[in-house]
Symmetry: C2
Subunit: 232 residues, 2 copies
């Protein structure tokens, strides 16, 4: 008898963290349902990358969910009138302007709804606390609290069909470790996109927080970043 | 010096529970931002009622958020091919087919995002556990877990601007108590809508779970239900 693969929901942004997370889920034998979000981002390049990554992993299904633009505001990632800062944020007590209010909570809530509807109990999210940008919803205490809430929220739990698990396989890795792990698992990082502030042709700026983290990671991993950058 | 009223987010469905909850929030002196959701419900009457209720309370703002129809499926409330059962559900171990996977988690997540963006820390939701329909996400242990998660999720908390509180003022009330409380606070229940299965003219069926709970509540409160029902 062939054992049927367990389904998992993978949050896929198009960046390198979520691509690596998807590769890890696949390597553990899960049948992956990818979920991406369209939410008035500054660029649609991210979603195009997510589609390419999903295809490269031959996911069972890739759901693209539109989030009403009335929800996310007051962030440089969703509001074109707010400028994306260059360079790394330095004040650990201040949350960067690129923070989007309650974003991961909304993403995980949608993942939970889809998980319950398709009968999956495993949700993978590529949050990262080591090299993180100071976002509160990337910390493991937050993820644990969400998991606990999820296991009280759903009919599947009351009917004792299973328990939800939020997997964060890269949460403690450095960017270099993430890149090395993904490379070993066959991730094609040329499909991924990280820049907060790409130009019209989709070239990365190389200067924003996200670009700098990525470049440093590839350098420390001793690998070449296949992303395309603007000439300096 | 006039003290500025504290803002609160009120989830408003158009039903009598959330209308009463809004009245309670207002009676506590909060300046209310109402939030309703459009999510491929079987009827848009609910949203029309929510708008009327919001207007009757002179809320500061009424945000109507569209939820991608790809998220909610496998429920009689969002899928027209699933029939809404008549009468009350009786098996306490079985979740009714009108349950929508992770619905309150998604609603509260959006409320949290909007709260953070507008600088509110109080969220009101009209869940009710006494007369409830067997939904897991209407129980107080679920709400407490959500609140705990919210207080780890957000920048406002890290920056020590405040702590989120999910208010559930009617969670322990019977339907009759809810109706009496709302009547005392001036709620116009003729504006509210409860039926899962109204006819084309918007008349309530009088037979679904939600109608029966409502009718019983008005009867026990010794009041007349101003909703319009189909002739039997």
């Amino acid at each position: 008898m062939i054992k049927k693969a367990k389904k998992a929901i993978i949050l896929l942004s198009g960046g390198l963290d979520s691509a690596t997370t998807a590769a890890i889920a696949k390597s553990k034998g899960f049948e992956c349902v990818a979920v991406s979000f369209s939410y008035n981002q500054r660029h649609s390049i991210e979603l195009r990358s997510a589609k390419k990554v999903a295809r490269s992993f031959a996911v069972r299904k890739h759901k693209i969910i539109t989030i009403d633009p009335g929800v996310f505001f007051n962030s440089a990632l969703t509001d074109k009138t707010i400028k994306v800062p260059l360079g790394r944020s330095i004040d650990p007590k201040k949350i960067p302007i690129t923070y989007v209010p309650a974003r991961n909570t909304i993403f995980l809530s949608f993942a939970l709804a889809i998980a319950e509807a398709v009968g999956a109990f495993d949700i993978f999210i590529g949050v990262n606390a080591a090299d993180y940008s100071g976002y509160p919803d990337c910390r493991s205490e937050y993820i644990k609290a969400f998991e606990k809430m999820a296991n009280l929220a759903t009919a599947a739990v009351i009917e004792k069909k299973g328990r939800y698990k939020i997997h964060t396989p890269i949460i403690k890795m450095t960017k270099a470790q993430i890149i090395k792990t993904g490379t070993r698992l066959g991730v094609d990082y040329s499909l991924t996109h990280s820049c907060y502030n790409p130009n019209k042709n989709g070239l990365s700026c190389g200067r924003c927080d996200s670009c700098q983290l990525r470049l440093k990671g590839f350098k420390q991993a001793g690998l070449k970043d296949p992303a395309k950058y603007k000439e300096k």
